[in-house]
C-alpha cells in the first residue's frame, strides 16, 4: 500500500517543462516576415513597389528634364538616347514626366488610403464593438456609400468640390471608407468574442484601452492586406479621374492625365500613351502582388 501511495503522489507545483533559455522571443510579426520572404511573387511585387518609391523620392536626381519643360520644336520625337521615352505634343520629355508621375500616383495612393483606413477603421471598430443602434447607424451609412458605383461617387464628389488633384484624393478616400469599415467591423465582431477580451474586461480595463491595445492589434492583419490592395485601386481611380479631367490639372505629370492628353496622337506617337500606361500597370501589379503575398503570410490557414 505504501508503495502505491508513493507512486500516486502529486507532482510538485514547479513548471512542468523548461523552454530552452537560448531560443529567442519570436514576435508574431517575425513569423509573418519569414513566410512573406518565401513567396517569390510577393517579393517581386515588393521590389516593384520599392522601385517606384525610390523613383518618386529621387525624381529630381533621376529625371533628365523638368516635367513642364516644353520645347515645341521637339514635338512628338520617338524614343532616342536624348529622350528615352520620346516626347509629347509640347516637346516635353516623357521619361521625366513618368518619373515625376510616380510621385503623384504614390502620393495619391498612400494618402487617400491612409485617410480611408483611419476613418473606416474607427467607424468599423465602434460599430463592431458597441453593436446595437450604433452598429445599425454606421452600417447603413456604409450601405448607402456602397450603393453608388465608386467612380460615379468620386465624380460626384469632385464635381461638388471642383476638379483638382487634392479633391480627387479626397473623393478616392471617401469611396474607400465603407470597404475598410465593413472589413474592420466584421473582424472586430469575431475578435471581441475572444476570451482575452473578456479577460481584459475582468482585469478592469477601460473600453478605450481594450479597443486600442487588444481589439485593434488583433484586427490589423486584414487592414494591412486590404490597404495594400486599395493603394493599387486608388492609383487606378486617380488615373481614371485624371483621364476624365477631374483630377490633376496641367501641367501636373499625372499618369492618367498623360494618357488622356495623348490619346489623339495614339497612331502618330504611340510612345506618348505606352509609357505612362506601363507605369500605371507595373505599380498596380506591384501593390497587388505584395498585397496577395501579405495576405498569405498573415493568415497561413487561408492559403489551403
Amino acid at each position: 500500500m505504501a508503495e502505491i501511495a508513493e507512486q500516486t503522489q502529486l507532482p510538485p507545483s514547479g513548471p512542468e517543462m523548461n523552454i530552452q533559455q537560448e531560443d529567442k522571443a519570436v514576435s508574431p510579426w517575425v513569423d509573418v516576415w519569414r513566410r512573406f520572404r518565401k513567396n517569390k511573387a510577393a517579393l517581386f511585387g515588393a521590389a516593384l513597389v520599392s522601385f517606384f518609391i525610390l523613383l518618386a523620392i529621387f525624381a529630381d536626381l533621376i529625371a533628365p528634364y523638368g516635367f513642364k519643360e516644353t520645347a515645341l520644336s521637339n514635338k512628338h520625337l520617338p524614343p532616342s538616347s536624348d529622350h528615352w521615352f520620346g516626347t509629347d505634343e509640347f516637346g516635353r520629355d516623357i521619361f521625366s514626366r513618368v518619373v515625376y508621375g510616380a510621385r503623384i500616383s504614390l502620393w495619391v495612393g498612400f494618402i487617400s488610403v491612409a485617410g480611408s483606413v483611419v476613418v473606416g477603421s474607427s467607424l468599423g471598430i465602434i460599430a463592431g464593438y458597441y453593436g446595437r443602434w450604433v452598429d445599425a447607424l454606421i452600417s447603413r451609412l456604409f450601405d448607402i456609400l456602397l450603393a453608388f458605383p465608386s467612380i460615379l461617387l468620386a465624380i460626384a464628389v469632385v464635381a461638388m468640390l471642383g476638379p483638382s488633384l487634392r479633391n480627387a484624393l479626397i473623393a478616392i478616400a471617401i469611396i474607400n471608407v465603407p470597404t475598410f469599415g465593413r472589413l474592420v467591423r466584421s473582424k472586430v465582431l469575431t475578435v471581441k468574442e475572444e476570451e482575452y477580451i473578456t479577460a481584459a474586461k475582468a482585469i478592469g480595463m477601460k473600453d478605450s484601452r481594450i479597443l486600442l491595445h487588444h481589439v485593434l492589434p488583433n484586427s490589423l492583419a486584414p487592414i494591412i492586406v486590404q490597404g495594400t490592395l486599395a493603394i493599387a485601386t486608388a492609383i487606378i481611380e486617380a488615373a481614371a479621374l485624371g483621364f476624365l479631367g477631374m483630377g490633376a490639372q496641367p501641367p501636373t505629370p499625372e499618369w492618367g492625365k498623360m494618357l488622356a492628353d495623348s490619346k489623339d496622337f495614339i497612331m502618330q506617337a504611340p510612345w506618348t500613351v505606352f509609357f505612362p500606361g506601363i507605369a500605371i500597370m507595373l505599380t498596380v501589379l506591384g501593390f497587388n502582388l505584395m498585397g496577395d503575398g501579405l495576405r498569405d503570410a498573415l493568415d497561413p490557414r487561408m492559403k489551403n
Partner: protein, 325 residues
C-alpha cells in the same frame, strides 16, 4: 459562521431568445435561477455541475462580466449589483478571474511582460521600474523564470500559459479569485501541478477561491465546501467531506456514483440517470431534476423544493428532506 467575503442572494440570469422577422422576444433561458450561497474569507468554494448548468454564468456575474437579472452580490458588505460601470471596473481589482482556456485567454500579440503589466497599469501603478519588478516577482511566484517575460504566449505549453493566467489574476493583490474551470483544458499530468500551485498561493496570500469545475475529483481535492448545480439551480451545498461521504440529494448521489474508483476489487452500484438534461429554455415545473430522479415523489412535479439546511452546514433542495407534504 465566520465572516463571509462574498454573499450571493437569489441570483438570477435570464437570457432572452429573440426570433422571428422582427427579432421579437420569443422566450427566455434561465441560465441561473435563484441561487444563494456565501464564501468565507480564505476558503475555497467548489461549484460543480454538467455543461450548461449555469456555473460559469454564475462566476461571470460575480465580476459583472454578465449583468445579473435579479439578486444581490455582496462583497465585503457592498452590493456589487448596485455599483456603476466605472465603480465596478475599479472593484475588479479585488475580484479577479482565471479562465478555462489558456490558449484563448492570453492576447497572442502581447508578450508575457505586457500581459502581466496591464492589470498594474490599469489599476494605477505608475512607476515603470516598479511594474517591471512586480512582473518578475509574479513570474517567480507561479514557478516561471524571469527570462520568460519577453516571450509570446504561443511559445509556452498549456500548463505554463495557465500559470501566466494565474499570475495575471494575482497581479493586483485580489481578495477573491473566480477560477472558471482552470484545469479542464490541461493534460491530466499538468492538472495536479496547477491545482497544487493554486493551493500554495491560497496559503501564501490568504486568497479566497470560487472554483468552478465539472470534474468532481478535482473539486474535492481543492475545495473546503462544494455546491452542486443542475439546470441553473443549486441542488446541494455542503462541506467537501460531508458532500462526498453522505450526499443528500439524489442528483449528487448519481454524480458521485459515476466517479471511477482506482481499485478493481471495489464493486460499486452505479446510478444511471435516464434521459438528458432538459433544455433550460423550457425547464420542468417543480424540481428541475424530477424527470430523471430515481426517488421522485408526487410533490416534485409541481412544487419547487426549498433550499434548506438539512444538517448543520449542509444544504439541499429536495423534498426528501422537507416537511411532509
Amino acid at each position: 459562521m465566520t465572516e463571509a467575503l462574498l454573499e450571493v442572494k437569489h441570483l438570477k440570469k435570464v437570457f432572452p431568445i429573440h426570433g422571428g422577422l422582427f427579432g421579437r422576444r420569443v422566450g427566455e433561458v434561465k441560465a441561473v435561477d435563484d441561487i444563494s450561497f456565501y464564501i468565507k474569507k480564505g476558503e475555497t468554494l467548489g461549484l460543480v455541475g454538467e455543461s450548461g448548468c449555469g456555473k460559469s454564468t454564475t462566476g461571470r456575474m460575480l465580476l459583472r462580466l454578465l449583468e445579473p437579472t435579479e439578486g444581490t452580490i455582496r462583497f465585503e458588505g457592498q452590493d456589487l449589483t448596485k455599483l456603476s460601470r466605472e465603480e465596478m471596473r475599479k472593484m475588479r481589482k479585488e475580484i479577479q478571474m482565471v479562465f478555462q482556456d489558456p490558449f484563448a485567454s492570453l492576447n497572442p500579440r502581447h508578450t508575457v511582460e505586457k500581459i502581466l503589466e496591464e492589470p498594474l497599469i490599469v489599476h494605477g501603478l505608475k512607476s515603470k521600474t516598479e511594474r517591471k519588478k512586480r512582473v518578475q516577482e509574479l513570474l517567480e511566484i507561479v514557478g516561471l523564470s524571469s527570462w520568460h517575460a519577453n516571450r509570446y504566449p504561443h511559445q509556452f505549453s498549456g500548463g505554463q500559459r495557465q500559470r501566466i493566467g494565474i499570475a495575471r489574476a494575482l497581479a493586483v493583490h485580489p481578495k477573491l479569485i473566480v477560477a472558471d474551470e482552470p484545469v479542464s483544458a490541461l493534460d491530466v499530468s499538468i492538472q495536479a501541478q496547477v491545482l497544487n500551485l493554486l493551493q500554495d498561493l491560497q496559503k501564501e496570500f490568504g486568497l479566497t477561491y470560487l472554483f468552478i469545475a465539472h470534474d468532481l475529483g478535482v473539486v474535492r481535492h481543492i475545495s473546503d465546501r462544494v455546491g452542486v448545480m443542475y439546470l441553473g439551480q443549486m441542488m446541494e451545498l455542503a462541506d467537501s467531506e460531508a458532500l462526498y461521504d453522505s450526499p443528500k440529494h439524489p442528483y449528487t448521489e448519481a454524480l458521485l456514483s459515476a466517479v471511477p474508483v482506482p481499485d478493481v476489487d471495489i464493486k460499486k452500484e452505479r446510478i444511471v440517470l435516464k434521459g438528458d438534461v432538459p433544455s433550460p429554455a423550457n425547464p420542468p415545473a417543480g424540481c428541475p431534476f424530477h424527470l430523471r430522479c430515481p426517488k421522485v415523489m408526487e410533490a416534485c412535479a409541481s412544487i419547487r423544493p426549498a433550499f434548506r439546511e438539512v444538517e448543520p452546514g449542509h444544504y439541499a433542495a429536495c423534498h426528501l428532506y422537507g416537511e411532509q407534504l
